[in-house]
Amino acid sequence: MQKSIVNPRKPARRSAWRTLVQYRTLIFMCLPAIIFFFIFSYMPMPGAYIAFTNFQYNKGIFASPFVGLKNFQFLFISGQLGLLLRNTVLYNIAFIVLGNVVQLAFAILLNEVTNKIYKKSAQSIMFLPYFISDVLVSLLVYNLLNFDFGFVSHIVRSLGGEMPKVYQNAGAWPFIIVLVNLWKSTGYGTVVYFAAITGMDSSMMEAAQIDGANAWQRIKYITLPTLKPTVIILFLFAIGGILKGNFGLFYNLVGNNAMLFNTTDIIETYVYRSMMNSFNFSQSSAVGLFQSVVGFFIVLGANAFVKHLDPDYALF
């Protein structure tokens, strides 16, 4: 009697413990990341309750009056949600697709380069823009493109051309923003893919070379298929944030220039402008919560889809 109750549990418990012991070194290596996410992602979670309150400074989050879903109304009755969703999602798709394609291409090209010095310096120079703050980027772009005194304007004029008024032309900005984002993120992503390529089993390459495969064939039949899991994982990570925009980039490049909002306004910048005046934490948190919950379900959906295609590539 006793045995039948205790016994089925014991092995399960032991195996979990055993797993911990067995992989203690790996888990220990993960510890910084686990602590990081615990402190910065899990601990603040109860604070999301602020989205359902009318926040009072002197009462704090949990003692402020509860108002239900009132704070969520703001985004939906603004009449802007369609435009904002369109911009946010399209920019993110452009960033994810173009970004990954370009990063992949550069990583493969770098891998084919044999000159070590060139390879290292190219990598560093490509990585550099990643560290430049968006504020500086916006100044660079302004000084290149502004109509009266911009660098590009000077060149165009000295060549006898007519400089378009870029800062009044909403149509130009999707290209500029995507380009700037590529410039900033390519180096970083390239290094990730490059690391994955370096980690490949070199015997496959050697075998292919002996069998007479040319560079293009090696890339097509060996490098790309080997990178597939990395691509899928990065894609799954990225897609969860598809409703979230890079506020720093958009806000600094566009600022309060209402001429450009039609093609550049994303959820973050809209919320920021609306909330700047009323300084309403509850409403901005409501929007953030909405983005996160939708993002969460998109990740679940995408993961289920990948799992359906090939269970090995799914995140969980």
């Binding site: 400074y57 009755i77 009449g79 109509f147 600022g255 309060n256 209402a258 809209y270 909330m275 005046n277």
Partner: protein
């Protein structure tokens, strides 16, 4: 008998105050943190502060410490500091027009100040502010602000311009209307190739309300009501102040404004990329690279002297919005005020420190002018700086705009008081008192709609103000339609009801 009782009660109350004063316990030395807007000074402020702290320690066993809200992104940083307070700030410099005092008050950022507290811990301030003025500082029957109500200044906006260039442009008497301003700008455009007539930081969000409101003030009798997140709520006129104006919803004047600004934009009075420009436009004016600066009278009084030094003969003039129609509202007394932080651990001592900052001649003048003899001298009630004095190096910056006191002020001998007094005299002839001092907007009913309106305004108004459009008339129509669909009628109805509740006879 009743009278006797009343006298007796009054005496008890008076007596109640006196022993309380004697009983204040200041045995613990405390640090009072003072939240103030401004860039952290690099001049002799710390030296002066050390001296003031000696005096404060001696008098109330407390010392003062600054917490600066630097000008970069100050609106956000200021509100954030108030929202995240945890006993780390005690005194808060605030204002009902430019620092969101009432919204912050409604969100619980400030401590209500009971009459007993004020009488006990800030007796000089309590006595110097009239009952009528204290009433303007109340929300839900409680006092939250200590107003700067004994300091003469004007912060009405307008354009500073160079009278030397205006005279060259044929404007013998200077610029006194938007039409004159256009003549002035066109002259600069035609005759000074390296000068931008008006270089503006269009990236900032404050230009829209200032320019649009400026035109409105100059062309209608409308009066701006303070304390809204969007500057589109105006009273009809001084004879009918408690009816909301429909200026932004109908009528030709906004269309005329849009058309005129479109003309100015096309004529090149500002740079084509004005909406993204963030340069230091005051420095540009001082270097002679731009011909005008849009700000308020108080700025002009100081800038006139600076300009005379850097651009001799510039004879900086000031065209004030509303000059054509004589539409001018005197400064609201809560344009500057001090509040005590809701979470302050030492509110009593904070009040005692404030009382001294505002009323103690020695401390006040140290804050405002620095060490006498060394940093300034006084003659005929006016102060002068020594030769070669540079404010950014040798001066003192307490940015104490929350309780300046004319009883203790010295006029600056270096300012051009003939010009300033003449301007003030003109103002005094036409000004009326701010009619909405008793009214505090309650955002709880239509807050969501207000955020919508705010966004509509910020989307359209910069394009109207800086003429960034092909068809101003169509843009105004579009703006008005957007206001309608964002719920302007409901918001105006709510505000009108709130106004009626306060001002119904």
């Amino acid at each position: 008998m009743k009278k006797l009782l009343a006298v007796f009660l009054a005496m008890v109350m008076l007596l109640g105050v006196v022993p309380a004063l004697a009983e204040i316990d200041t045995s613990e030395h405390v640090k009072i943190v003072y939240l103030v807007t401004g860039d952290k000074p690099t001049n002799r402020t710390d030296e002066v502060l050390a001296r003031i702290n000696e005096l404060l320690t001696e008098k109330v066993n407390a010392e003062l410490e600054f917490r600066w809200i630097e000008w970069t992104d100050w609106q956000t940083q200021y509100n954030l500091a108030l929202a995240t307070q945890s006993g780390d700030i005690d005194l808060i410099g605030t204002a009902t027009d430019w620092l969101d005092a009432w919204p912050n008050c409604q969100k619980g950022a400030f401590l209500p100040l009971s009459e007993e507290m004020l009488q006990t811990y800030a007796p000089q301030t309590w006595a110097s502010v009239s009952e009528a003025h204290w009433n303007l500082c109340k929300y839900n029957g409680e006092i939250y602000l200590m107003p700067e109500d004994n300091y003469a200044q004007w912060t009405n906006h307008g354009f500073m311009y160079r009278q030397d260039w205006a005279r060259e442009a044929g404007l013998e008497n200077g610029v006194h209307s938007w039409a004159d301003l256009a003549v002035y700008f066109q002259y600069i455009k035609d005759n000074k190739p390296d000068v931008i007539p008006w270089d503006a930081n269009g990236n900032g969000s404050s230009y829209s309300p200032q320019m649009a409101g400026g035109w409105q003030t100059s062309h209608t009798g409308n009066i701006a009501i303070e304390g809204f997140p969007v500057a589109i709520f105006y009273g009809e006129s001084k004879d009918n102040p408690y009816t909301l104006s429909r200026y932004y919803l109908e009528g030709d004047e906004l269309v005329n404004f849009a058309k005129e600004m479109k003309k100015w934009a096309d004529a090149g009075y500002w740079r084509a990329d004005v909406l993204n420009y963030t340069g230091d436009v005051v420095a540009e004016m001082e270097e002679g690279k731009t011909g005008a600066h849009q700000h308020h009278t108080q700025t002009w009084t100081g800038e006139r002297t600076t300009m005379e030094r850097k651009q001799p003969g510039s004879d900086l003039g000031f065209f004030w919005f509303g000059e054509e129609t004589g539409n001018l509202i005197a400064l609201n007394i809560t344009h500057g005020a001090m509040a005590v932080a809701a979470q302050s651990k030492h509110p009593e001592r904070a009040l005692m420190v404030y009382d001294l900052m505002r009323n103690d001649p020695e401390i006040y003048r140290l804050m405002q002018y620095g060490f006498e003899g060394e940093m300034y001298t006084v003659e005929d009630g006016k102060f002068s700086r020594p030769e070669g004095f540079e404010d950014s190096v040798d001066g003192v910056s307490f940015n104490f705009w929350w309780g300046r006191n004319d009883n203790l002020e010295y006029k600056n001998a270096q300012l051009d008081w003939d010009a300033i007094d003449a301007m003030y005299a003109t103002y005094d002839q036409v000004k009326i008192d701010y009619p909405y001092g008793q009214y505090i907007y309650d955002n709880s009913m239509v807050g969501v709609l207000m955020d919508n309106l705010s966004n509509v305004y910020n989307t359209y108004m910069p394009r109207i103000v800086f003429g960034m459009n092909d068809d101003p008339e169509a843009l105004v129509a579009e703006f008005r339609a957007a206001l309608q669909s964002a719920g302007i009628e409901m918001v105006m109805e709510e505000i009108q009801n709130q106004l009626n509740a306060v001002y119904a006879k």
